[in-house]
Symmetry: C2
Subunit: 336 residues, 2 copies
């Protein structure tokens, strides 16, 4: 082990080489404007020549700014989150931050534990589809910067896709096809969206005179979709709205297995417009949304929190428009 051969240069090396104080180098590097432009350029040149790179750990320690944000999703294998992850990753990178990805595995405990564990080593948390209780989220938000995705909570910044308008669109689409009854195959009880979607569907159904029932809850997976399909088929309804596309695709398959046909015997609608929803057969009618944008905006409002929202009293709650993607899984209601 040589002495100073293999080590990365520090601001001290740059300072010595530039014949300046380390503090000046520090300013030149991260606080331009508080240093004369001549010295700044000099410092930059020397730093470049020496191959200097900031040690982000070292700078995070005294400043408290880690330039890192964490994104937690409830199930990392659900394609629904891909867009969100990508959007978040992009926005984080654009802001000079690093993204940490965590899987909470549908468990509020795992969620809380993992967030706690990261604690001081991130600037904030973006939590997608949190399964925690409102109280726990509020407690969390008291200690850390938090932005929510697919969930709203007073006082916290959030980004969701419009489900009020979306569910209305779904119901009107089904009504136009002659359906008079629908079932909602509910998602997990802890998922905020489960109630929201049900509420939207029920309300819209009422307005158009369609009957609506809520069944479940089910795990939001393809596997659970099989069970959901059986339940839907048994309900006598002509249209089934699944909590998400994973379930809906599982339903499609199960219905076929049982020798029945979509949409002739049952129309099926999903949520999210995930990768795969257009390659199933029939392709899935589903409520899509700009999920990359969701991820991007969530990181954005997390990072921007300090500047305005928080001091302005309340956080911004963003609602992005949803759009119904009509494909082959919905069709005319069977005549009974």
């Amino acid at each position: 082990m040589a002495r100073d051969e293999r080590k990365r240069p520090t601001i001290y090396d740059v300072a010595r080489e530039a014949e300046l104080a380390p503090s000046t180098v520090s300013r030149a590097l991260s606080n331009p404007g508080r240093v004369s432009s001549r010295t700044r350029e000099h410092v930059l040149a020397v730093a470049d020549r020496l191959g200097y790179q900031v040690n982000s750990l070292a700078s995070a320690l005294p400043s408290g700014r880690t330039h890192t944000v964490a994104l937690f999703v409830s199930d990392i294998t659900n394609p629904h989150f891909f867009g969100i992850i990508r959007g978040a990753e992009h926005q984080a990178r654009a802001a000079g931050c690093t993204l940490i990805l965590g899987d909470t595995e549908e468990s509020p405990e795992v969620e809380a534990r993992n967030i706690e564990r990261l604690g001081s080593s991130v600037d904030g948390f973006v939590v997608a589809a949190s399964r925690m209780t409102d109280e726990d989220i509020e407690a969390l938000a008291g200690k850390h910067r938090v932005a929510l995705i697919s969930r709203q909570l007073a006082g916290l910044p959030s980004v969701i896709v419009d489900h009020v308008d979306g569910t209305r669109e779904i119901v009107e689409h089904l009504a136009a096809l002659g359906h008079e009854s629908l079932v909602y195959l509910a998602g997990p009880r802890r998922a905020w969206l489960t109630d929201q979607r049900w509420r939207g569907l029920a309300q819209a159904a009422r307005r158009v005179g369609m009957s609506a029932r809520r069944l479940g809850p089910f795990q939001p997976t393809m596997r659970a979709g099989a069970n959901a399909a059986d339940v839907a088929l048994g309900s006598g309804a002509t249209a089934a709205v699944a909590h998400n596309d994973l379930m809906a695709i599982g339903m499609l398959r199960r219905v076929a297995e049982r020798g029945m046909r979509v949409p002739d015997d049952l129309s099926v609608v999903g949520f999210d417009d995930i990768f795969g929803s257009d390659i199933s057969s029939p392709a899935l009618t589903t409520l899509g949304g700009p999920f990359e944008e969701v991820g991007r905006l969530a990181v954005d409002s997390l990072l921007g929190m300090r500047e305005k929202s928080r001091e302005a009293g309340r956080a911004e709650q963003i609602v992005l428009p949803s759009h119904l993607v009509i494909r082959g899984s919905t069709g005319k209601a069977p005549v009974r």
Copy 2:
């Protein structure tokens, strides 16, 4: 701002409360065995009572161990990586580490830049489907701990899924169906796997007396699959092996668009067995592999590098078995 109200307790607080030296607290917390069990328990109790939590940044600075690993994938929206990501996340968490996820967007430049940027703030890098040159990877490995996924390079730990056996299986499957000619729709030139897969296919084809041609390169996306389908159809071959499932699914769709049928007019095979490959119609015949395991093992060998491999002279190169999943996209060769 109160003085010591809102701040998280440090080892100094614990030390004062436990009437010990900070260093003893530090040992008790992270080096048990170098402290009497009585004091250790005492420290633990006090730490617990005070709600102490380590500041991982602060501990990383002097020790150099960040307990963080980075995973880079070439395209974060490719479902192929979901399993790898999940496996890596699990193994990292099991080892008490945090996972940083990076998207290199098929670009060697983005890849190099992002890796460089993280530099000292991670314990090592797992790079999946690197697009960098061997030389650049070697240079990188000289400065950081690196483990490769879906790529082999002498001296570096790696995890791949067996493509030699896999391509043989594909070819024999096609031969058994009476195919006498195949085309390989190649992936990106910079992808190590592109050449490997072609080599395996060509060699296996030679052995069974099948003709084989390589076409492309194509981007490994569904969109590029359309182009690949046209080229494959124009080639006169009866079987097409796509570089990955994304391309293969894109091909399936394009073939149908052109009014031809899979597998009657053309058999199609993919690689990876991604989510979605079994819901397309026809469902895709594809070479699968234990990708969660791949992610897990890659993190594992990265983290274990210091202990044995490195000193034992060379890194372990793990090859996991692949398996051909036969579905509807392959069938008897058309009679010409």
